[in-house]
């Protein structure tokens, strides 16, 4: 199974029923790895429902879905190792310090030498100085950065963003954009799907050789070859770019970052296409039409 061909996300007829209402109605699309999908739609169109289902926080009523080749319904456990969620909710313990939160998550994922990993992450989000402070004392922007660090602890291959910009002041938005750009630029060692069983270690070597020229605008920087550090048998694999899935009401941000667009309305997929194949005016027109029609 060529690791490159496996789509990041593939759903067929994904449906979610709330009582009599269909929050998601036979949504089907396939997203290649390394893409940045922006999901648009009026309130109640099923955007958040779709994201919660794909991030294994909610169960679909019917239909099939696969993330990185793993079945969402049979084996959600496997998928959780490869995905991260950044949401408007911090997903943190506000009464613990930034470092304690990240250490907790790192240990839960089983990251080796968690202390070193946490200090790396705190450096990335520029919060090293505040590592021993209680998160409750942080500003909304700083909490968001800890939340990003939390989502990256196990270097996930697919990152879901649920309204990440809501409540951020302009300064925090700029920092968030820089971080997002930095994360997109770095590829990530892809766990070879084959080597993953529930029980055994999911070690993946730090080492990654050949540069993978992927068409998407995020060129992978070539990591310097270093010997396979972990003895685990899984294959040394080529890095692959991270995949993003964002739900946001911020039209400009969504369009600017996206490589693929998905328009949802009343749970149905109205449009799913690569951004450069979609004429912007037509998309904006379609969006306003659906927003006009959408449930207030």
């Amino acid at each position: 199974m060529a690791t490159k061909a496996v789509p990041a996300i593939k759903c067929t007829d994904l449906t979610k029923v709330f009582g009599q209402r269909k929050a998601l109605d036979k949504a089907s699309f396939e997203l290649p790895q390394g893409a940045f999908l922006s999901i648009f739609g009026p309130n109640g169109a099923g955007k958040t429902t779709l994201l919660r289902i794909l991030s294994t926080l909610a169960r679909p009523s019917s239909g099939k879905a696969q993330v990185l080749g793993h079945d969402l319904i049979e084996k959600p456990g496997d998928i959780r190792a490869y995905i991260g969620l950044i949401s408007h909710k911090p997903l943190l313990y506000l009464d613990l310090t930034a470092e304690e939160n990240l250490l907790l998550t790192a240990k839960l994922y089983g990251v080796e030498n968690p202390e070193q990993r946490v200090s790396e992450l705190l450096a990335t989000v520029e919060l090293t100085s505040r590592r021993h402070d209680i998160v409750r004392t942080f500003s909304r922007g700083m909490t968001q950065r800890v939340s990003i660090a939390r989502a990256l602890v196990h270097s996930p291959q697919v990152i879901f963003l649920d309204e990440p910009y809501s409540g951020l002041d302009p300064h925090a938005v700029r920092i968030f954009d820089d971080l997002l750009q930095k994360i997109r630029l770095q590829g990530v060692e892809q766990r070879d799907g084959v080597g993953v069983e529930q029980g055994d270690g999911v070690g993946v070597p730090l080492f990654a050789e050949a540069k993978s020229g992927t068409p998407t605008p995020s060129p992978c920087s070539t990591p310097t070859p270093s010997p396979c550090s972990t003895p685990t048998p899984s294959l040394c694999s080529t890095p692959s770019p991270r995949t993003f899935c964002m739900v946001s009401h911020d039209m400009q941000k969504g369009l600017a970052l996206a490589t693929h667009l998905l328009l949802l309305e009343r749970g149905k997929v109205v449009l799913f296409a690569e951004k450069d194949q979609v004429d912007p005016e037509e998309f904006v027109h379609l969006y306003h039409k659906s927003v006009g029609m959408g449930v207030a």
Binding site: R59, H154, S155, Q186, V204, S221
Partner: protein
Amino acid sequence: MSKKNDAQQMSATYKKPSTFQHYKILLGKDLRREFRTREMLTSMGIYTVLVLVIFGIALMQAPEKVDILQMAGGLFWAIIVFTSLLGLNRSFSYEKEDGALEGILLVPLDRSVIFLSKLTANLLFLLIVEIIAVPLFYIFFLSGLPMHPTLPWALLPLLVGTIGIAGVGTLLATITINTRGKDVLLALLFVPLIVPLLYACVSATTLAITGSPTLMDAYVPALALAIGYDVIMILVSWVLYDFVVSA
């Protein structure tokens, strides 16, 4: 930003921890958070003292011939049930408000471990509060009276009862965090379910306190039934927990 290579810096190797490790980590989190905020311990401790005072004033008027010994077991368990209700409600409220529980649900782990770690945490906090409540209860109600040698036997049903309360309470608290009017609802769901355990524990405790001659042949079956209740109810709660926490 150090010149270190970005790709290397953002990736990590990891090995899926065992369930017991998950249990320890989650329990550590609960204990650390509680010993920092001491939210549950202080509120339960103060609540116990208040209930003791109320019972004291309520019974003060009772004429001398009322045998406090007979009622002591029942009184004590009433305090324990009310206090644990308060504690159980708070044990989950902070998990829900910042989405912290969802953060844990995102991690690939066996979700009933969350039940076991929460149960242990709640059990420890209840026991800590009981360490204050027992001597205080003794001072307030039993100090003047002659004590029977069998008094220490009352501690066993206390432990068994607290385990049962923590088990059933943790499952029900997980249900009520997502509902409206959660405090009242937890009490409503919790009290009828805990009645059998209470029935057995109060009987065992009273026998121990009053030191009645038929102690052994009545005390042991009551305690055994309480233990039976714990085993069955905690097992059922453990099996059902994944459905509840993922709902």
